[in-house]
């Protein structure tokens, strides 16, 4: 019965975004999770280890626990991550690797994620992403996380995502559009917009999604190499989704 509820919730929520390595951060090409989940390499080459936890819609069966490490050398960027999503028959384990190049003038990376569920079914997805600056204060990114899939289909079909983020005066604003396949209504687009404010070591953001309308509130705090983050996302029908992140970087 509980499994049926979980399946129903998964069908209702239809999140277009990633699952395993979602970090509580504003959108865009930044951080270890961006290169692992979207193939968007960060500009900085800092090494950072990140521990992530998420509970989707308040259900322990939809809890994700991940650990990821990312680093860089000159223009080269890479990251690796391990994740466990859910429990019991509905859960799966995932390992992801990503590598790419990034400079101030742009970046591109390839990502690969392999999963294995409880019955032993295996699946692999391969994709990538790229970003480029628009002027001095904005960047455009494009990501195709599942360019190629093999074996067991991924839990969520993730098609092309295009987004742009503008930064200035300590404010970030972003808008992205993701193509989402639907067996009932065909390919449709989901939109994601948000705004973040940097106030010293604290970054706060709010974001909105459509289909169905959802909002989220997040905050990160940094002290030295340590960074903590939390994000809560609402849903019109289901309970909230909570994400936590702790990371330690080289600087």
């Amino acid at each position: 019965m509980r499994a049926c509820v979980v399946v129903m919730i998964l069908a209702l929520s239809t999140p277009a975004r990633a699952q395993e390595f979602v970090a509580p951060t504003p959108a865009g090409p930044a951080g270890v999770s961006a290169i692992l989940e979207h193939g968007l390499p960060p500009v900085g080459a800092e090494a950072r280890i990140e521990a992530l936890a998420a509970r989707w819609h308040g259900l322990p069966e939809l809890a994700a626990r991940s650990i990821a490490y990312g680093a860089g050398w000159r223009e080269l960027r890479w990251a690796v991550g391990l994740s466990r999503f859910g429990d019991g028959e509905l859960g799966w384990s995932a390992v992801a690797v990503a590598t790419g190049l990034a400079t101030e003038a742009g970046g591109a990376a390839l990502r690969l994620c392999a999963r294995r569920d409880a019955p032993g079914n295996r699946g692999v997805e391969c994709g990538g992403g790229a970003w480029a600056p628009i002027g001095r204060h904005a960047r455009l990114w494009a990501a195709v996380p599942q360019l190629w899939t093999e074996g067991e289909p991924p839990p969520l079909a993730r098609w092309l995502e295009i987004g742009a983020i503008a930064e200035g005066f300590g404010i970030k604003a972003w808008l992205s559009r993701t193509a989402v396949p639907s067996r009932v209504r065909g390919v449709r687009a989901d939109h994601f917009a948000g705004i973040a404010a940097d106030t010293g070591p604290i970054t706060t953001w709010v974001s909105l999604r459509d289909r169905p309308p959802r909002g989220s509130l997040g905050v990160t705090a940094a002290r030295g190499a340590l960074r903590l983050g939390v994000e809560v996302e609402s849903h019109p029908v289901l309970p909230e989704t909570v994400r936590l992140g702790v990371s330690w970087g080289s600087r």
Partner: protein, 453 residues
């Protein structure tokens, strides 16, 4: 003629004002991709790349292509260019460009033998005449890019004239043209005789073609510069039943009026195109397109456009349709990483409602060390049944307009690697359509350009 078209084609005064402004404002350049004239609806179209070979050079290409579970197809090509002789030979199973072409000089004359795509004047008698809703209809001159192959035969040029013997549309034809600023042409075959007369100047041209039954067609184009604006207009009129002997299967509108303009404004380069046309009574159409393109400070370019289409684009089209579309595009061609993105959406009702086709695409170009380049083009599309949407794909030696149907996503990955004094070009197509993954298609070609000592 224009007023007659207006009467047949219901255009309101407000649209006329918009059309007049469009005429004064600019001509759509980065239009949505349309197949070349004569391409059947929903069919792929392949054209040779407009790549030219330097004099004295020889190019050799050997390639294979295939897909999982299918037989491997082989392709070979040789191109050579010399001041007195140049040519191309392509060979390959199911290669739409297979065939040969040799161009050379003999004494005071020039000859072309093999695949022919000649164009006399405006193309009414010989050569593909333009569709009035396309920007190419504004072009002046016989040698235009993107022409499709018409037939095979021999063409001989001397003393400003041309003599043609060939096979076009499964019939033998002979023709003669006296070319120059004023030109006369005659084309004869078993099915009849046709003639044409025209003038060709730097800023315009006109042609009238007729046959023995008295059927005729005339077309003229004129380009002018007015300050910072380039303005062009084209008009076509004539008999409904006129068909070119060389291409009897192709029937463009018998009457058309096209106006286009392009100029710099404070917002960027503004282009517009307005056209109305008619095949016969009750079979008319119109198009209005506006586009603005603005270079940004970082070297990237931004463009956006809007377009409205009404009526029919084919004589046999069952029902007239209304389409309104808009697109937005950004791109930056920079080394080592270039990125572009485009979104285009069309609706069958005003304000882009009732979406009938939509496509979102990104392109990535990567310039690596030692001349290695890689590119990726990915598009997500949704096309309602009965609609046409084309995707431009660059091959090693060709341009392919891929007709898309249904919904899905398509990816092309290309890598060019210098190898063996040449270049290895490898491509991979990944195609997911209507929820099913198609067998991935691949192609590999090694080509080399050399200049014999």
């Amino acid at each position: 003629m224009g007023l007659a078209l207006m009467r047949r084609y219901p255009v309101s005064w407000s649209r006329l004002v918009i059309a007049a402004w469009a005429f004064a404002a600019g001509a759509a350049k980065a239009d949505p991709i349309e197949p070349p004239p004569g391409t059947s609806e929903g069919e792929d179209s392949t054209q040779e790349s407009a790549d030219t070979l330097a004099s004295g050079a020889v190019e050799l290409g050997i390639g294979v292509s295939g897909a999982a579970g299918q037989e491997i197809e082989r392709r070979r090509r040789v191109r050579f260019a010399d001041p007195d002789l140049r040519g191309t030979v392509r060979e390959g199973s199911r290669d739409p460009l297979a065939g040969g072409l040799v161009e050379g000089r003999t004494g005071a004359g020039e000859f072309v033998a093999g695949k022919l795509s000649p164009r006399w004047g405006r193309g009414l008698l010989l050569g593909a005449f333009s569709d009035p809703w396309q920007r190419s209809s504004m072009e002046v001159g016989a040698r235009r890019a993107g022409r499709t192959r018409l037939g095979e035969g021999v063409l001989y040029r001397r003393w400003g004239g041309e003599l043609l013997l060939g096979r076009f549309s499964r019939q033998d034809l002979a023709g003669i043209q006296i070319a120059g600023e004023r030109r006369l042409g005659l084309l004869a075959g078993r099915r009849g005789v046709q003639a044409s007369a025209g003038i060709e100047q730097a800023h315009g041209g006109a042609e009238i073609a007729f046959d023995r039954r008295g059927l005729w067609r005339g077309e003229g184009v004129m380009r002018r510069e007015a300050g910072r604006w380039q303005i062009a207009g084209a008009m076509r009129t004539g008999s409904t039943g006129f068909r070119s002997l060389a291409e009897p299967g192709r029937n463009g509108p018998s009457r058309a009026l096209t106006l286009a303009a392009e100029g710099a404004t404070g917002l960027g380069t503004l282009r517009s195109l307005g056209a109305v046309w008619s095949y016969r009574a009750g079979r008319a159409g119109g198009r209005l397109a506006l586009e603005i393109e603005r270079p940004l400070s970082d070297g990237s370019r931004f463009s956006a456009g809007f377009e409205e289409q009404r009526g029919v684009r084919r004589d046999v089209q069952r029902a007239a349709s209304f389409r309104q579309g808009a697109w937005i595009e950004w791109g930056r061609k920079a080394a080592p990483l270039g990125l572009s993105a485009r979104h285009e959406s069309w609706g069958s009702r005003g304000a882009l409602r009732q979406t009938v086709r939509t496509i979102t695409g990104v392109g990535l170009d990567l310039l690596a060390a030692r001349g290695v380049t890689a590119s990726l083009a990915h598009s997500v599309y949704r096309v309602r049944r009965g609609e046409s949407l084309y995707l431009l794909e660059n091959g090693s030696d060709r341009l392919v307009l891929r007709a898309l149907a249904g919904e899905g996503h398509r990816t092309r990955i290309e890598i060019r690697v210098p190898f063996g004094r040449g270049v290895v070009h490898a491509g991979l197509h990944l195609d997911v359509r209507d929820g099913r993954r198609r067998p991935p298609r691949w192609d590999v070609e090694w080509s080399r350009r050399s200049r014999p000592r």
